[in-house]
Symmetry: C2
Subunit: 100 residues, 2 copies
Amino acid sequence: MYGLIGKMTAVPGQRDTLIDILLEGTGEMPGCLSYIIARDPADADALWITEVWDNSDSHRASLALPAVQQAIARGKPLIAGFSHRTETQPVGGHGLAPRG
Amino acid sequence: MYGLIGKMTAVPGQRDTLIDILLEGTGEMPGCLSYIIARDPADADALWITEVWDNSDSHRASLALPAVQQAIARGKPLIAGFSHRTETQPVGGHGLAPRG
C-alpha cells in the first residue's frame, strides 16, 4: 500500500470552502482505501489530508480524474501552501475500505 | 470527530515486531473510525499512526481497554520515541468505518 500525510494551508478565511471542494472532488477514486480531511485545531487556516492507496500508481492516476482535476482547478486559488508531506507504507489497521 | 497523527520510532531492528503488537492490540476499539499503521520508508525504525475517533472520549477510553493495555506493555520496551504528534478535527472523506 502507498500512503500520504500532508498539511495544506488555505488562504486566510478559505479553509472551509477548500474542504468542501476537496470533499466533493475526492469521492470516487479507484484504488483509494482511505482519504481523510481534517482541520488543524491549532491553525485556523490549515488542514491535514491522510491518504492510503492500494499502490502509488492508483494515487498518480487519480490526479487525472476529471473530478480531481476540477477540484485542483477550483482549489488552487484558495491554497497558500503545502507542508509536512510524508510518504508512507501503510501495513494495516482499521478503516481501509476499497471503493471505486 | 477527533483525529491524531503521530510518528513512533522503534528501538533499532524492532519496528516490525512493534507493528505486529500494535495491529494485534488495536483491532476492536469502540468509537474508532480509522486506525492506520504505516512504515516510514525514509526511516527504517519509524512508523506513522493516523487515527480517527468519533470523539476524544472514545480515544481516551480506548487506552484502558485490556487489549490496548497489553499492547502498550508489550510495545513500550520497543519504543525509542514519539514525535510529530498532531491532534486534528476530521471532517470527512473516505475510509471512516465505525467498528466495535
